[in-house]
């Protein structure tokens, strides 16, 4: 089943370790994401899924181990460092500022200033341009249901907020989008819309890491499934090679998969 491939992972982690005092978050964890695929990361509560993606996005610094983006070793000190490498993250705790409006949120931390002296000396924001481009990226993603781009995010529904967060992740020429349980708090319709957003992002050439506890959703959208257990990778399988209950068994340790039956290389 293993195919030899010369494709280089776009994101790779080797032997990552991270502990919080005596609690172990990651233990020699390996991870690969290949260009243009959706990889789902599943695992029990506390398996280290969030810790893994926080290391990959610079929100946490691993205690040891290596991380590579496009084959180049990276050392992220903040989320800005990973963004600079084209890695965008939608966190489990939605990292939006509720009082700010949609466009301010999309551009938070990378605001556009006006051209000329107004921007350089008076540091004036180009709100018009930001609003226009925010509107454009929401349109591109088919997130049309917001009333106004200047509506504060706290007045949006959960699904709309999530859409804003996903739009922000996909809006800035990013190569990799990481989503930590994006549908956990959403209803059926809103979840379906976010899953569609994920497929749209992939169709636009982005590579996606999706953390989710929802097996049907994982099997619906993922190309490969990375199963995390006790801080390390237990197996990588595909929706074709294994059933949902197999994956649950791997998660709980009731089943192990020999390496030659895993899918450690890309399928697309």
């Amino acid at each position: 089943m293993t195919t030899t491939s010369t494709t280089q992972p776009i994101v790779q982690a080797k032997d990552l370790n991270k502990s919080f005092g005596r609690v172990i978050g990651l233990a020699d964890c390996n991870f690969e994401l290949y260009p243009g695929e959706v990889i789902a990361v599943v695992g029990d509560n506390g398996a280290g899924k969030s810790t893994l993606i926080k290391c990959l996005s610079g929100a946490l610094t691993p205690d040891s181990g290596e991380m590579h983006i496009d084959g180049e070793e990276v050392f992220f000190k903040s989320t800005n460092d990973s963004r600079a490498k084209g890695v965008e993250t939608v966190y489990q705790t939605l990292a939006v500022a509720p009082v700010l409006d949609i466009s301010e949120n999309l551009y938070l931390g990378r605001e556009i200033r006006k051209k000329g002296i107004l921007g350089t000396v008076f540091r004036s924001l180009d709100k018009k341009r930001m609003r226009k481009e925010a509107m454009q990226s929401l349109n591109d993603l088919g997130v049309l249901t917001v009333q106004s781009i200047t509506q504060s995010v706290e007045t949006l529904s959960g699904g709309q907020r999530q859409a804003v967060a996903v739009a922000r992740a996909g809006a800035f020429g990013s190569k990799v989008v990481i989503l930590d349980e994006p549908t956990a708090a959403l209803g059926v319709n809103e979840s379906a819309r976010v899953l569609k957003l994920i497929r749209d992002l992939r169709d636009r050439g982005m590579s996606i890491i999706l953390i989710s506890h929802n097996m049907p959703q994982v099997f619906d959208v993922a190309d490969r499934i990375h199963v995390q257990r006790l801080g390390r990778r237990a197996a990588v399988v595909t929706p074709q090679s294994h059933q949902m209950n197999d994956v649950v068994s791997i998660m709980t340790g009731a089943m192990t998969v020999p390496e030659d039956q895993q899918q450690l290389t890309p399928v697309r």
Binding site: L94, A95, L108, G109, T155
Partner: protein
Amino acid sequence: MSSTAPTTAADEFAHRATPMQKVQSSLHRYPWLSPLVVLALLLVIFGVLGLVLGVGDLENLFKPGTISLMLQQTVIIGTLAIAQTLVILTAGIDLSIGAIMVFAQMFMANLAVYTTASNVTFMAGQNPVLAVFIGLIVATLAGGLNGFLIVRFNLPPFIVTLGTLSIFTALTLILFKARTIQGKEMPDFMLLMSTKLEIGPLTFTLGLIVMLLLYVLFAYILRGTAWGTHVYAVGDDPAAAELSGINVKRVLFSVYVVAGVVIGIAAWITIGRTAAASPNVAPEINLETITAVVIGGTSLFGGRGRLLGTLLGTFIIIVLDFGLSLAGLDQAYRVLAIGVLVIAAVAVDQWIRKVKV
């Protein structure tokens, strides 16, 4: 994305909003509306009482002379309340603003005037321009000290500024021996902010104009620059701001430094306003700045509020002050009224936080 037809459930819901919900969502969008309404109500009530019913000397409230005096009277609270607004927007609180202002103005005066009654005589007798400048730097450093302690050691602003309140009050007494320096002892430049300017029937002071310009400047900075957006984001949810790539500690530190600059300017304005530099110039000032900010509609929980509200809050305090005393009422009623307003403002804030548009 035209807004001509209701397209979403939220949209339809907005069209069915009850009057109360409309009020709530307007207050949510424009937090300065409630202080505006309060101020207007106050003026109407005092107007009816004074001009129609002839209560006490209340009719004098609307004479140009009184209006000028009220406006001039806003400068100390009003300027310091800008600094307080910045801090409260980050979900902090500054209890040391008054103490730092007093320290800075005493510093300025003791540099500019040669007096034997201080412990800093060795550096007294400076050029007044230099004295004011150094006073500004001192206030900025004092703000920076607050910011440093809060950011570096992760201490709550309440505790840090409670500490620096004592420290700067003590330093004022130790260094300057609590001696009031009168305006007539000072070089003219020290009193520059008291320069009078006739504007129509009203008399402004330079200090008042500087205060109003500071409001315009900071309103622009808060709403028109990235730094301002970051101040709101940090006050709203620091964790989310951090994950969005904002350096939360740097923003917080810079807020206290900028507050220090504003406090320094307020110190110079205060010397002009009171024609003196005195350690007990305004004993209630710190609480009054917080009051102005809170009744101005800025949330003590951070991230929500506008500078315009703070200006209106300052006006409310001053109008109450003048109105009640002209009506012949005891000072205690003014304190009572302020107390009621503060609690009402916090209650309104809690209510508008629950808004669903």
